[in-house]
């Protein structure tokens, strides 16, 4: 099987940022909490490879730690979506047309009416801002996404004859969902997972930018952008660097998703032609 170019390219891009995030757990060039007002807005090169920000913090260290925040938030949010959404979707599909199905789907529609930002606003208004907000807000929004994908895909598998054969073999809906449905829809879930991952990175940046996400001193690309806004004209690097990090991470994840889809689903590959 030929590995699609996008997959290699995307995985390489993403690996770069994942590596930086993991490395930041044990080492950054400078501590991200170190304020060095004397060295504020230092240009790249010299002591600081990518310069310093308006409070004299090392940009490279901030970007590495920001990658950690972005990836962690998006990853946990995808996890919430998969762990809660997929079983709901599978249950709805197994009992298609039943009250359970109706309740799950209407519940999904209801959550869809609350964009992540609105959920974050509600949580922040009541509990105050924190990084956990971003995770919860994005994670809750992911639940109906995965529930719908899982239900839709499962519904195309249920009528197939091997499911009937499993029922004739006396297997119940839960066992059939686990043994026959899930493996046959896993492709789609993996692809959707990378898409939601990339959307999570974008959403986290947006929430942090408006102050509903990670709070100081936790570094975050979105907040770096918010901080840089006033200095943008004079020091464009402060805004361009975190922005590029977001773009490249999201791009890498999206390319990976496209590549995975081509690799895992020959039907879709034929359409792309």
């Amino acid at each position: 099987m030929r590995v699609p170019v996008q997959l290699v390219l995307g995985a390489a891009l993403f690996a770069l940022f994942l590596g930086a995030a993991l490395l930041s757990l044990v080492w950054t060039p400078f501590p991200v909490t170190d304020l060095d007002i004397a060295a504020k807005l230092a240009p790249p090169g010299g002591g600081h490879l990518l310069g310093t920000d308006h409070l004299g913090r090392d940009m490279l260290s901030m970007l590495m730690a920001g990658a950690r925040t972005s990836i962690a938030v998006a990853l946990v949010a995808v996890g919430i979506g998969i762990l809660l959404g997929v079983p709901l979707g599978l249950a709805a599909a197994a009992r298609r047309g039943s009250l359970l199905d109706e309740v799950i789907m209407r519940g999904n529609d209801l959550i869809f009416a609350f964009p992540s930002l609105v959920i974050a606003i509600l949580i922040t208004a009541v509990f105050g801002p924190s990084a956990l907000n971003a995770i919860l807000a994005i994670g809750i929004f992911n639940i109906p996404v995965f529930a719908r994908v899982a239900r839709g895909a499962a519904l195309t598998v249920w009528p197939r004859e091997f499911i009937l054969a499993a029922r004739v073999a006396g297997k119940g809906a839960a066992l059939i969902s686990a043994e026959h449905i899930l493996p046959n829809i896993a492709n789609l879930l993996v692809v959707q997972g990378t898409i939601q991952f990339s959307m999570g990175v974008l959403a986290e940046a947006g929430l942090s930018y408006v102050g509903l996400g990670a709070q100081p001193p936790t570094p975050s690309w979105g907040r770096m952008l918010a901080d840089a806004q006033t200095f943008f004209y004079g020091y464009p690097r402060l805004a361009i660097l975190p922005g590029l990090c977001i773009v490249l991470t999201v791009l890498g994840l999206n390319l990976m998703g496209d590549g995975l889809r081509d690799l895992l689903d020959p039907r879709l590959r034929r359409n792309v032609r």
Binding site: R160, E161, F162, L164, A165, A166, R167, V168, A169, G170, K171, E179, H180, P183, N184, R273
Partner: protein, 520 residues
């Protein structure tokens, strides 16, 4: 007037068609017959030049002396629909679901600039009337989803012949239809060809259909025409061995040792199955549809019982109830005296297994054959000699023990159906429900599977409930037959008696509609 001269098609270097030469005359039907993969559809597509991307076309196609193969794509568009019309196999998907039928027929006229908008509509009305969709019952504003499969195929025919083309290509136009609908569509095509003086290239896998429809027959095998001639003569003489083999397989009847015991194994009494429908009004009562309406039947031990009926007659619903997958709303089903219902004990389920139609959809594509075959062990607990039992059933159905290591996609359609039979055998059941089990197979493979089924029945004393829409097959393999229509059994009796002297009007209609091969 239409001639194919040495037409060849290759895709990626692999030859699909080799040196196909055919000639068609106005007002006559050329039947092109062959099994799947023989290249018959590819021949049609090379005439109308709608081959898949990457296909290389060689040879010449002449329409009244004009070389179609030399035309540009733009010139070819002017030929398609105007001089050559085509209808396809799947009427359910062949029409645009979001456009009304009048517009779809009128489009043929509009795209060729043959009529203005209002004139096109009135011609469309006339052509739809000609194919049997009278404007008072089927106004132009109807959408495809409001029509049945047969009616949709009529719309397809109307839009294909709207400009009275010189050639009509029909690619398996009735394969997806019920036998009575098939008979109507076939006679419509025949009439149109005669009246309008079109030539017709009629493609089918069914020798009996060809025998009834075609003036001339060409038999295709592996991309080549192996025999070609006037229908009656060709079927009488059958010079090529492949033609003879095809003919033999089409009317194959396995040798069966009748071993009925008379003791009932499966009993269905007054079974009723309702389906809830969508509410027609927001808060109105929920209507329901009675799919199975008071059906009673008895299957004796060692017997083969046929159940025939057209699509929508309720036979699939009845099958699911008999398998204990869905509950009845009335009546009862008993297997050897024990009640069959969704909650029935595993031991009872073990005694009744099933083989489905689709050799491609019957298996989880991610499981190996060994795992597929051991799935029914869920009912019995995995025995200690599971591996040996798997090897044994594989050999029983004519496969090898090593095949357990392979994935289903590594097998041909016929081999997959053998795997499906092996899966049904592994719990050592007494009754096997065969749900259209040979309907998707080519005739030669079908003959082999029928032989296998007869052999297994004799060896293991199995009882078969054989559900099919195909009268020929039911006649070949069953002892008794039930005819089902609109949820009810309308006729029951010994197979030969029912087929030779049908009593119910519907049975007679079915038998009259079914195309038959002339005796050799």
């Amino acid at each position: 007037m239409i001639a194919l001269e040495g037409v060849s098609v290759g895709i990626g270097g692999a030859p699909i068609l080799r040196d196909v030469s055919l000639a068609l005359e106005a007002g006559r039907i050329l039947g092109l017959v062959g099994e799947s993969g023989s290249g018959k559809s590819m021949t049609a597509l090379s005439v109308i030049r709608l081959l898949p991307q990457g296909a290389a076309l060689g040879g010449r196609v002449l329409l009244e002396g004009r070389e179609l193969t030399a035309l540009s794509e733009r010139q070819m568009c002017a030929v398609r629909g105007a001089e050559v019309g085509m209808i396809f196999q799947e009427p359910m998907t062949a029409l645009n679901p979001v456009q009304c039928i009048g517009d779809q027929v009128a489009e043929t006229l509009l795209v060729h600039g043959a009529a203005g908008r209002s004139e096109a509509a009135s011609i469309a009305r006339e052509r739809l009337g000609r194919v049997g969709l009278s404007p008072d019952r089927f106004p132009l504003g109807r959408y495809p989803h409001e029509l049945s499969g047969g009616q949709r195929q009529r719309v397809c025919i109307a839009l294909a012949v709207a400009l009275r083309p010189k050639l009509l290509i029909a690619d398996e136009p009735t394969t997806a239809l019920d036998v009575t609908t098939q008979a109507q569509i076939l006679s419509l095509i025949r009439e149109l060809v005669r009246e309008e003086g079109m030539a017709c290239l009629f493609i089918t896998h069914d020798l009996a259909v060809v025998a009834e429809m075609a003036d001339e027959v060409a038999v295709m095998k592996a991309g080549e025409v192996v025999e070609h001639g006037a229908t009656a003569g060709l079927l009488r003489e059958m010079r090529h061995p492949y033609t003879r083999a095809l003919f033999e397989a089409s009317r194959h009847r396995p040798e069966r040792a009748v071993r009925e015991t008379g003791t009932p194994l499966l009993e269905v009494r007054e079974a009723v199955r309702d389906y809830p429908l969508r509410r027609s009004r927001l808060f109105g009562p929920r209507p329901s549809f009675r799919a199975v309406d008071g059906v009673s039947l008895t299957l004796a031990r060692g017997e083969s019982l046929g159940l025939v009926g057209e699509s929508g007659c309720g036979k699939s619903t009845l099958t699911r109830a008999i398998l204990g997958l869905e509950a009845l709303q009335g009546g009862e089903i008993r297997l050897d005296g024990a009640e069959v219902a969704p909650g029935m004990p595993a031991e009872l389920r073990r005694r009744m297994q099933v083989v489905f139609q689709d050799p491609y959809g019957s298996f989880n594509p991610r499981h190996r054959v060994g795992r597929i075959l051991s799935e029914p062990f869920h009912l019995t607990g995995r025995p200690e000699d599971a591996e040996a039992r798997i090897a044994e059933v594989l050999r029983d159905v004519g496969l090898r023990a090593e095949d357990a290591e392979k994935f289903p996609h590594e097998f041909s359609g016929g081999q997959r159906q053998r795997i499906a039979i092996a899966r049904a055998l592994i719990t050592r059941p007494e009754l096997i429900v065969l749900d259209e089990a040979v309907s998707a197979l080519d005739v030669s493979i079908r003959a082999q599977i029928l032989d296998l089924l007869a052999d297994l029945q004799a060896r293991f004393g199995l009882s078969y409930l054989f559900i099919s829409h195909d009268l020929t097959v039911v006649r070949a393999i069953t002892d008794r037959v039930l005819v089902m229509r609109a949820g009810k059994i309308v006729e029951a009796g010994p197979t030969e008696a029912v087929f030779s002297a049908p009593e119910h009007a519907y049975t007679r209609e079915l038998l009259a509609a079914a195309p038959v091969l002339p005796a050799a």
